[in-house]
Symmetry: none
Subunit: 416 residues, 2 copies
């Protein structure tokens, strides 16, 4: 079965809010084997709503609408729906009692607009919304299902979990959908694609492979669909194992794992500690690490040594090295990594020094020149990168590649 989402409301179209509802609904539908074919965001306008409904009806079996049901703007949406389905609005006594009870709880007088929250389509089954005043509605018409929900995330989620998903799961469904994700690091998308060419060619038509690249990491996603769920799961398991075997040297983990999480887990399992020394990334690398719960068990801390004084004082980088090679150099990167490891008393460390831009570049060392070093059991090693001219991507790529370098170092030095 297929579904579409229609989100109604100006907030999304003027960019005031990001539509997080749709991704959440997509995940839920996907899990129960319903494939989403389109998401459409439109304004609170009769014409737009009518056009989106009829267009979605031509493609999907299930149409989920969110938004446009708040007390100040539900008129357009509900009236348009009534016309579209050739029906009327009726005041629902149970919904009215629920709305009244909410107003009583907050000791607030009810206005006529609040009463109108209890008006529902005469052809709809009401979906009780415990979390708010706007009820959901379930409409079946010409073998299609229409689900109308408010756009407030907590209310939409309540209705999905308590009313919509249980009903959808009860429908006879032809198709099961299954996903497997594998994260790789240190190999580019096109090289990976070449490596996996024959694996991809040999996939049956109901399973396909997608590449999702990001800064030195590529997430591989296998998606399969089939009439027989059990057989599909077995197949997916087998293809996923083969895939893991094929990308073994670059394998980070399965599922939605992050590279930084895998590194922390690995270090923690070996009771090892980590520190950072950052120049051009300005704290972004330590932010990535410390965003993860439990990182303090491994990460002792780091320094953002923007100035040369701090590089000398906190990390023990020699003034002579800075003078001879400059702050952005292999030698300084190595001394920063070794200095962090020694001074912060950690087993491993990562260091980054570079020119993030837009200024500060020279002919020899243009903007984007970045030296990254990692230190471990057997000293430190450094690598030169050039990430181009733009500051923020430079910062993000530098931090991501420091993680990739640590990934390889742990691979060499630790035995699982």
């Amino acid at each position: 079965m297929t579904a579409e989402i229609i989100t109604i409301g100006d907030e999304i179209l003027i960019g005031q809010i990001v539509d997080t509802n749709s991704a959440w609904i997509a995940q839920q539908l996907n899990r129960i084997g319903i494939a989403l074919v389109q998401i459409t965001s439109i304004a609170d306008q009769g014409d737009a709503i009518r056009q989106a409904l009829s267009s979605a009806t031509s493609r999907a079996d299930i149409i989920l609408c969110t938004g446009g049901l708040g007390p100040t703007k539900d008129d357009v949406t509900k009236q348009t729906l009534a016309t579209y389905f050739n029906t009327t609005l009726v005041r629902d006594v149970d919904v009215l009692a629920h709305v009244e009870s909410i107003f009583k709880k907050f000791n607030r007088p009810m206005l006529e607009v609040n009463n109108r929250q209890a008006d529902v389509l005469a052809n709809a089954r009401v979906l009780h919304n415990e979390t708010g005043t706007a009820p959901g509605m379930w409409i079946e018409e010409n073998e299609k299902i229409y689900i109308i929900m408010p756009g407030v995330p907590t209310e939409m989620k309540y209705l999905m979990q308590n009313e919509v998903l249980p009903k959808l799961q009860g429908l006879p469904n032809q198709y099961a959908i299954s996903h497997r994700s594998i994260l790789t690091a240190g190999i580019g998308e096109s090289f990976l694609a070449e490596k996996l060419h024959s694996f991809e060619e040999d996939l049956p038509p109901h399973i396909h492979l997608a590449y999702l690249p990001k800064f030195g990491q590529v997430r591989l996603r296998l998606t399969g669909s089939s009439l027989i769920e059990q057989a599909l799961e077995k197949e997916m398991e087998a293809y996923s194992s083969t895939l893991m075997e094929l990308v073994k040297p670059y394998f980070v983990g399965e599922g939605d794992v992050l590279l930084e999480q895998q590194l922390l887990t690995r270090l923690k399992n070996h009771q090892l500690s980590l520190s950072t020394a950052e120049s051009c990334t300005g704290g972004y690398l330590s932010h990535l690490i410390t965003s993860l719960p439990g990182s303090s068990a491994v990460f002792k801390g780091g320094v953002v040594s923007y100035s040369n004084e701090l590089k000398e004082q906190v990390l023990g980088v020699r003034a002579s090295t800075l003078a001879a090679y400059g702050a952005v150099s292999e030698q300084v990167a190595l001394e920063m990594a070794l200095g962090a490891q020694k001074n912060f008393k950690t087993d491993y460390s990562m260091a980054i020094t570079g020119i993030a831009g837009p200024d500060g570049g020279t002919d020899d060392k243009p903007v984007g020149t970045v030296w990254i070093a990692v230190a471990g059991k057997e000293g430190a090693k450094a690598k030169l990168f050039n990430f181009g001219k733009i500051r923020l991507p430079n910062i993000e790529r530098s931090a991501a590649n420091a993680l990739v370098m640590l990934f390889y170092l742990l691979k060499e030095e630790l035995v699982d």
Copy 2:
């Protein structure tokens, strides 16, 4: 003029990523007076792309497509576009040279799929993508404009800012829309709304005021529309001046200014320097500062002192203070700020120590307890916050409020 966005790619439809691109594009279009009428998300499939294009063409003047241009999956998108526009793909020599230069920089051999990144529609004007290998394309056909961009946010944003928006701003537009933004800090949204009640009441119907709150800062946005651009600009200027006067004690700056940018500019004008000492924010505060070009003129560096050892060693926090009051305390926050100021030889400093969660809370100091201190000319002062139970918002709110505290300290200590 009206626009629509079409996002191409399975990632959004299976809920693997949230579509943040569209909200960003919507904001940019809105600012230059282009109204977005629909956002459509579809899969990497020829039929879906064709249908979405023809449907969008029937409603809008400008159609922006993002996604579906990576080296492993651009075939479908570009071939479909070529068929749709009844044209062919040609290899662009400039794009090819750019792609080659990227591969050369990383010392990697190029594969045929990489060469194909340089294939563009024969009827398109190429939009140079400095940040990646997939070029953007600008197509004019039957008085409609089609803009094709990669879906990677940094690449899309680069193309929008450097190529697309300047071109769109050059187009003749009938309706003038004008915006004025004012950033305030240190006053809550509802207090601000109360203060501005009669200002808001007195606004003419074609000008309205929006409140965009974020972590101790509220951005006020005046939006006006009119047929007569010059008159509108004059009016907007007048209302914006009145507004600035009304919020004077909380005024940070005009336009899209960031609080951290205003602080850096202020410090730079007075030739003063800044450092940070972070515990629970783990480098996020210094990341905010160093994301800004030119920050190195003011920011000397900082330490992420996750462990107590680092607090003592790098910041000179006394072991007795840590033992007596605990790492999350007013006393430790003050010693961290003073330690950073002294050891890193800066005029000002900010320090944060707290419990980001999800673990580590106690009855006395529950998760979300954060002490923030700022140090300046006359010693340091600290303030206690509680930002709730969730790790990432905790980190973001802590960093934002440190900036607000520094904002007030500079207001007290510096005379402009």
